[in-house]
Symmetry: C2
Subunit: 384 residues, 2 copies
């Protein structure tokens, strides 16, 4: 039998695949996943924008396009980023088929087998799998309640000589923690001092329900070493698979060649839909609705966790709360029983690049209405 | 400065990028590219299908989906393939974001640096770049006017121990040559005998303007080692980026994990549009139109080449004719002068994995109307 490539050694697929099969069953209350609420998906508006785009520009949309992306999306995304303090002209942006693809293309451009990527611990498990398929060595950075500790990051840079540092500084996945502003400044300075790429993954930034918006790490960067990734999955639709990455010219050239040889270009109908969504000004109103909807759900979840007496983070935004079960209780065992009561979540151990932390769990609140959150947490309390 | 990964050594991007910048200029007659005719892109119908899909299924389309693909597309593609003699149940199919992605995912699953892939010589240059980014060694297979020579393929398999054999058996890109049926049978037998994967890339199959349809290599395969790739780019729209690949379960598992970590899943709006396009039976009528449209253009091009006295292949379908300039004439020099007269094509040397063959050229006929073809060939004749 033909053998598979060495990069697949030890790769078994996402550990949470099985959980997603369970939550697809009817009647299951899911605190797993990071899905937008069904109410947040505007099929009528998307349909109108698709019709407009195809009427005005259909022959160009349906034809082959450039690997560099749909020009109108690059323009609209540049304006979107400027409003968020991210200075990125259209030429410095690459539209991608979701930000998972950015991580894939960056690894393709930068990572030789055995190269180190520094990651928050815990961090987004999907990114781990992408990185591991490039045979990257994932090394954890020490964090606390304010995010990555810059001194710890500096020590890790000096000892591990990473090719890339992967950070989710705002409403982090899975913890919901936000990196404080002084540390953002310090981390941008580290990128310059050690001349290494920092990937700022920022999909939740606009989903803030309380507190003050913080500047991006990218906004403090003078060196061109902080790469900024924005996703429209949480803001408009994940099913359309559209995000952008801002990168300096030398790296951008590699990303475009990688894009060309990976899928030629991103779906142009979806690029055109997102471009029109942004340029016609629908986002601010939609974000106000999302914030009201998800903010209430977050409050309900935090109240429920307090009632249960479960230790947890208190995010000011995003999609996730991070919980800690009593010492000695394994979240995987709790999940097995919770599933029998039709409640699902993701055990926290999967988000640690080095495993362990069996008592942790990630809870999503965006995809259940407040009363369902109460019922789900009640069932969970009984299991624990 | 951070260094790039070794896989980029020697990769400079598609050699024909510059040509595509030229053909984007107004007034240029392009025999380069492999674009469908603008008339063939049905923006009205696609718009209707998008509206229907989003009205009936919008919440599911716009939400995260499975890496395994949109179920209705898998069903429709399975029926589409069955009509073409390709026996592939929906579970054995993976929807991809264009068939370039299939090549990328297959290389990810199979290719370690230095592994050999056997390719027709000449063959599709985009595939070469994808394979080279996995540091594959590309080794040529001897061909003649009936396609790959099975004895030569067997010798190459025995001496090079390839991980993969990449073939475009029908209306090949770039030559337009079709592999004869006896050889298809023989090649399927070689896959079984030597237990190696053969990738049958078959995007032009339905674009036959004369002669008899031949069975696929896949239809002769008893071993599960012939992988079949179908694209909807040439039949419906390349801008939507939708194709499928049929693969056996062990390999499919790796492809799905690769897909998950590459872009999570293919755009669901486009998957739903293509599913509806197929299941509502629009394809046969559209294909009849395409065949009439492109068949006339092919005849006009062949007549023009005969008038010019240029040696050329005589394809029965597809998008390309392969030409040969008089000995000692370099197609790249001809291109430089042709561009001054606003005519473009692709020099054939780029399609050879080992270069050379400077006198060859690839001519596309689908994207120019018959009179434009005449004018373009007249200009070319003057240059030569």
């Amino acid at each position: 039998m033909p053998s598979f490539a060495a990069r697949y050694n030890g790769i078994t697929g996402s550990a949470i695949r099985e959980i997603f099969k369970i939550i697809a069953q009817p009647g299951v209350i899911s605190f797993a996943g990071g899905n937008p609420a069904a109410e947040a998906l505007e099929n009528g508006r998307i349909s109108d924008l698709a019709r407009e785009a195809l009427a005005e520009d259909g022959k160009r949309i349906l034809q082959y396009g450039g690997s560099e992306g749909w020009p109108a999306l690059k323009e609209a995304a540049s304006a979107f980023l400027a409003e968020r303090g991210v200075n990125a002209s259209p030429e410095t942006l690459l539209p991608v088929s979701g930000t998972t693809q950015t991580i894939d293309l960056l690894c393709k451009a930068l990572i030789d087998p055995g190269d180190t990527i520094l990651v928050e611990n815990p961090s987004f498990l999907g990114a781990f799998q992408t990185m591991r398929l490039y045979q990257a060595h994932l090394s954890p950075i020490q964090t606390d309640g304010d995010g990555v500790i810059p001194d710890a990051l500096e020590d890790a840079i000096k000892s591990a000589h990473p090719k890339l540092v992967y950070l989710i500084p705002t409403f982090q996945n899975p913890t919901g923690v936000t990196l404080c502003v002084e540390r953002r400044k310090a981390i941008a300075a580290l990128a310059a001092r050690y001349d290494i790429y920092i990937l700022e993954d920022d999909p939740y930034r606009d989903l803030r329900y309380s507190g003050e918006t913080l500047p991006t790490i990218h906004s403090f960067d003078q060196s061109g070493r902080v790469l900024y990734m924005a996703s429209f999955s949480k803001l408009i639709s994940p099913g359309l698979r559209v995000g952008v990455v801002a990168a300096p010219p030398d790296l951008m050239r590699k990303l475009v060649i990688g894009k060309q040889s990976t899928d030629l270009h991103t779906d142009q109908l979806s690029q055109a839909i997102v471009a029109r969504y942004l340029s016609q000004g629908f986002l601010p109103g939609h974000l106000a609705e999302l914030r009201a909807l998800y903010g209430e759900r977050l409050r309900r979840m935090l109240d429920g966790l307090d009632r249960m007496g479960l230790e947890h983070t208190t995010p000011e935004g995003g999609l996730f709360v991070w919980g800690k079960l009593p010492k000695g209780v394994d979240a995987r065992a709790v999940l097995d029983r919770a599933i029998q009561r039709k409640v699902a979540f993701v055990p926290g151990t999967h988000f640690y690049c080095d495993g362990g932390h069996d008592e942790t769990l990630r809870l999503n609140f965006s995809n259940s209405d407040p009363d369902t959150i109460d019922r789900g947490l009640d069932a969970l309390a009984q299991v624990i």
